[in-house]
Symmetry: none
Amino acid sequence: MIHVDFKDRTPIWEQLTRNITHLVVSGVLAPNEQLPSVRQLSGELGINPNTIQKAYSELERRGITYTVAGKGCFVTENTDRITQTKQDEISEKYRALTKEAMQAHMTRQQIDEIISAVFAEQGGSL
Amino acid sequence: MIHVDFKDRTPIWEQLTRNITHLVVSGVLAPNEQLPSVRQLSGELGINPNTIQKAYSELERRGITYTVAGKGCFVTENTDRITQTKQDEISEKYRALTKEAMQAHMTRQQIDEIISAVFAEQGGSL
Amino acid sequence: MIHVDFKDRTPIWEQLTRNITHLVVSGVLAPNEQLPSVRQLSGELGINPNTIQKAYSELERRGITYTVAGKGCFVTENTDRITQTKQDEISEKYRALTKEAMQAHMTRQQIDEIISAVFAEQGGSL
Amino acid sequence: MIHVDFKDRTPIWEQLTRNITHLVVSGVLAPNEQLPSVRQLSGELGINPNTIQKAYSELERRGITYTVAGKGCFVTENTDRITQTKQDEISEKYRALTKEAMQAHMTRQQIDEIISAVFAEQGGSL
DNA sequence: GTGGTCTAGACCACT
DNA sequence: GTGGTCTAGACCACT
């Protein structure tokens, strides 16, 4: 479920936070569900516990998870809020990207076709 | 025209290559137009010449500029090809972003509205 | 009356001791009144008995409660002394906080207004 | 200027962030002033570079400093905003502490005396 | 030179 | 068992 690309230049801890955030937003991880322990994930992925720890701290800082001392890390109860935040981020990226597209002389039609193609491809699998 | 943000974490040389690529794609820099010399740009922006040089090398590696020994750096004749490459990059970003949007449960309508808004805002100024 | 926040990073046993100390200082628990048994509180709050025990030991260590073998835990006769200790702690916190405030360039007036506002709000409810 | 108490249970990285925040708020560190390098501070304080790094990351996350790649860490231009945030934090602490004081039956007069004493003591030295 | 990331492994408090 | 902190030291990109 969680996959790390060591060749990618983006830090491992950041890949992990994105990955897990994605699992929360897409509903794979339910509210209050427990995440794998630091040591377990470290073992499974072959990544140092410190790096996992850094990712988990970041997730908590962003309000995506909460920690219970001596118990473990759990998904926030408020996953809707996380999804909303994520949608806001994506909207902002669409805005920036569309400005870039206009400056590169792309038309509304070109963009529509790209997006429609993705919806057509992915539509069935979701 | 060229602006560098020292507080931004993306490397200066990468900011420069993006910046100049953007000027080529948007038509501000014409085919065969000469770029400012390394020394001149270094002086204007207060940036180490090595960093400017790295950006210029990168631009040439990407086929965006060509160097004439003893003369300087010039924009490629083939700016259309550069624009095409840029459009391909943007298309790929739209694809990735749209997949992300679907997994965050955004609808086709939501996305359309965002893009339309940008076209409405920016339409006049381009 | 006793409430524990599992998401709070302060240890459960410390939350419990604070909570019960507060009930003594504010007069909700009277001198010589019996505390609920470890088992009972453990059941009510869904907390491991060891954790409750640690809190009770701490309360006794601080002279807030005393234990009668075979009977249970009771609030000290001398709740005034406890209140005095608590007031001393609060005074010390005011001193530290006020030093911090001065270093952050806050004025006597600003501080007075904050405190007066709290007295105005809370005054009726106590 | 920067002092760490190893006996204190609060993490070293947190002591460091508080310490440096304090130097910014009290004006000892000026806007855009460079902080000592990670390695230098590590050597001076006898603390592992990783721990210093963690403190510096936290300061940047809080907008107190900014990092220039290959150059170092600098105090934000906006120290006024930091001071304001700090004052807001202190105000909130006064509010919570005053509620606690009221529940421990302290009077307005008692509190005033404590604060006045601190202003009298510290007044000259600032 | 600078900060950022990562591994390896110890030790701590809490449950 | 759990996560949080810290040391020791390597390697990286950037200036």
